[in-house]
């Protein structure tokens, strides 16, 4: 049933107790101890619990009060999302060494499509091992991974040997594995759906497989087809690298601060040329032009203007001059930059089913200095 030539190799990487592990990493006193991130003894809910705390039955989304009852020695710490984001970014950098097809699900999980990869390693299992080892060596954190031929199975697989382990579901084993899988363990089947399925006598994949797509669609609407497919190991969703470029820019720092109109005009012209070159190379167009000025005292001023149409190079140049003349120069200039944002990549203009908008011509200016 499965066409070998189009088969994908997907890895789902899931960090183990991510927030709590980061806290234990940054604060050695917390290591080996039950830690809850978020909430406290009186109120609030636990956002994440360390494995030591999980042994006591502390779970995420559990009220702090209950968590404290279950685990008397539980240490509550305040979440530091900025820090988690930072580490998440570092993990992402590791992923990007292997493939550009990285789809983050949250700060602590992502799908990677390694069918074609930058290290020319044909084994997704080995890549997963290597990624997990690098996360451990470089960041001191444990990760689990699931490997399979689609996102749904990879995600299901990463749970099998969690924590600090990995598992692979091969095409030939997928259906047998899914038949035995309890219905509530299917990714995308939540509590409510699982209850409803159990009422219908569906307790595992095998039970689910007995029903027709028509029946499932009738009972579960849209999701019926999805359920019908996933139990057969079919899940066609691609790994969507969420790397939508937000802006494109060029800037130039001068070896000596400049203040003469002529010098500035020259510099802006050169930077504009570079921006246009980059736009052309990447096929990107934008609706917002931002002019950035760094003065010799390092204060930065930015001015921008947004138009409802995507801008052509000549129009960008006009707007740069407009922005430049908006405000008198206050001091000698150290750096000039031109940025283009609100790019045509952000709105996928022509995806099927998209209701198009009337492109009214109006212009409006945006101030942000």
């Amino acid at each position: 049933m499965i066409d070998q030539s189009t088969i994908r190799k997907i890895i789902h990487v899931d960090m183990d107790a991510f927030f709590a592990s980061v806290e234990q990493l940054d604060n050695p006193e917390l290591r080996g101890k039950p830690v809850a991130v978020g909430g406290n003894r009186e109120r609030g809910v636990v956002a994440a619990a360390s494995y030591e705390a999980r042994k006591f039955g502390v779970r995420s989304a559990m009220p702090g009060k209950i968590a404290a009852l279950r685990c008397p020695g539980l240490i509550f710490v305040r979440p530091r999302f900025e820090r988690y984001k930072e580490i998440s970014g570092q993990i992402r950098q590791i992923f990007l060494d292997y493939t550009d097809l990285v789809e983050p699900l949250s700060l602590d999980e992502a799908f990677l499509d390694v069918t074609e990869n930058k290290v020319n390693n044909p084994s997704a299992t080995r890549i997963a091992l290597e990624i997990r080892k690098r996360i451990k060596d470089e960041l001191g954190l444990n990760a689990s991974a699931g490997i399979s031929y689609n996102k749904f199975l990879a995600k299901t697989a990463s749970d099998i040997n969690k924590p600090n382990g990995q598992a692979v579901i091969l095409p030939k084993n997928a259906e047998a594995f899914l038949e035995k899988l309890p219905i509530e363990r299917f990714y995308g089947i939540g509590k409510v759906t699982a209850e409803k399925m159990k009422e219908l006598g569906i307790h595992n994949g095998f039970d689910l497989k007995q029903y027709s797509v028509q029946y499932l669609t009738k009972k579960f609407g849209k999701s019926g087809l999805h359920f019908y497919n996933i139990v057969r190991g079919i899940h066609l969703s691609e790994v969507k690298p969420n790397r939508i470029r937000k802006s494109l820019s060029a800037e130039s720092t001068f070896s000596k601060d400049i203040s003469e109109d002529e010098q500035i005009a020259d510099a802006l012209e050169r930077i504009w040329e570079e921006v246009v070159r980059r736009m052309e190379r990447s096929g990107v167009k934008g609706r917002t032009v931002t002019l950035k000025i760094k003065y010799h005292d390092f204060t930065i001023h930015t001015r921008s203007k947004t138009i409802e149409k995507f801008l052509e190079p000549a129009r960008i140049k006009e707007i740069i001059w407009e922005l430049w003349h908006q405000e008198p120069l206050v001091a000698a200039v150290r750096l000039l930059g031109i940025g283009i944002s609100n790019l045509n990549l952000e709105e996928e203009d022509y995806f099927p089913g998209k209701q198009l908008w009337i492109n009214f011509d109006g212009e409006y200016a945006e101030d942000q200095s």
Partner: protein, 374 residues
């Protein structure tokens, strides 16, 4: 203060303006009608601050006076009374109101009339005359295309542009646009205003079915509509209306003329099978055959029909939101309509093939992108 009035005559006038009264107004006194009696004439005002409506009727009264009367209780009472003269007695100190009828007596607590917000008068106004027929067809032809998006306030109303030769009414929600033009309404000076949708809805439901003259006056902040013995004053939307003329394509190579009701009937059936989110239907023109189809992959639903039409242009396939098409075709009355388009990602136009002498209507609708890989 005391006055006598026919229960049904009062109910009729109050019902005409009751739509302005909101259930949860900014100021509680706006849950009331303002009653003002002067020389045997009762003036009733209802307002939500943005829009106010005023109506007049003759009553039997010996003295002048004012009172604010709770709108809901009064309307309910009048609705349930058999037709008869009723007497209102008002205690000017306590603001209590007593209504006596053949059936009995009803007491309710009014409020001080001076607390009722002042209704703006329209000064330095530009005036234009039209009729209820023109106004109501202008409203019903455009209002459905206005936007609900409070972030684009200009589009939440109908734009009216007056010139020496005609008057143009335009509405758009960004996906579709209607331009309705009358050559039998004109003004000495060029000017334009945007009237909020709520005010137009109120007008639409209040305009009498018989054709009577309507005076429209406006300045930069308010507009004022007057017909029979009813007036409406509304605050204008002080925004720049999008430049609509530039977005109406003039060089559409594809022209398709088709029987409106046949097309509408077909779209209604096909729409049942369309995707519930996009409501996309596919129009495929091959020679003089129009194939209309839709599919909903999530439910394995699909439908298609074939109609014959007059088509001038290359074969083309283009997708639209069926609801928009149905709504637009519904608002037209001609036997046949002409659709004009150029590409699956460019605006389509719908115009009636035959039209009234004094009116001109054009509807624009943006496509829904087709998926040609399915």
């Amino acid at each position: 203060m005391k006055f006598i009035v026919s229960s049904s005559a009062l109910l009729k006038q109050l019902s005409a303006i009751n739509g302005v009264v909101t259930t949860n107004p900014v100021v509680p006194i706006l849950e009331n009608f303002l009653f003002e009696i002067k020389s045997g004439k009762l003036t009733v005002t209802a307002s939500d601050l943005q829009t106010s409506m005023i109506t007049e009727l003759d009553v039997e009264a010996r003295e002048d006076g004012n009172i604010a009367v709770p709108a809901k209780i009064l309307i309910e009472t009048l609705k349930n009374l058999p037709e008869q003269p009723v007497t209102f007695s008002i205690d000017q100190d306590t603001y209590s109101i007593e209504i006596s009828s053949d059936n009995g007596r009803y007491k309710l607590a009014g409020e001080n009339a001076t607390d009722f917000p002042k209704i703006p008068s329209v000064t330095n106004a530009t005036a234009v005359d039209m009729s209820t027929e023109i106004l109501s067809s202008a409203i019903s032809n455009t209002i459905f295309a206005t936007s609900n998006d409070e972030l684009r306030p200009a589009m939440t109303g109908v734009y009216i542009n007056l010139s020496k030769t005609n008057t143009t009414f335009v509405a758009t929600d960004g996906h579709r646009l209607v331009r309705y033009r009358r050559v039998d309404v004109a003004s000495k000076d060029d000017s334009s205003i945007i009237i909020p949708r709520k005010a137009l809805n109120l007008l639409k439901s209040t305009l009498p079915s018989e054709n009577v003259p309507v005076t429209v006056e406006f300045n930069s902040s308010n507009a004022y509509f007057k017909f029979n013995n009813t007036k409406m004053i509304c605050r204008l939307i002080d925004e720049r209306f999008p430049d609509y003329e530039n977005v109406i394509p003039v060089d559409n190579p594809n022209h398709m003329t088709i029987d409106r009701l046949e097309f509408l009937g077909s779209l209604r059936r096909i729409a049942i099978y369309a995707n519930k989110t996009t409501h996309q239907v596919r129009l495929k023109l091959t020679g003089s055959e129009l194939q209309i189809s839709a599919e909903d992959l999530d439910f394995s639903n699909e439908a298609n029909e074939r109609l014959s039409c007059d088509h001038d242009g290359e074969d083309i396939e283009i997708g639209f939101n069926a609801r928009f098409l149905v709504e637009m075709l519904n608002n037209l009355s001609s036997k046949e309509v002409t659709l004009k388009f150029s590409a699956p990602n460019r605006a389509g136009l719908i115009v009636p093939s035959d039209k009234g002498d004094n009116e001109d209507i054009l509807m624009l609708v943006m496509p829904v992108m087709l998926n040609n890989y399915v």
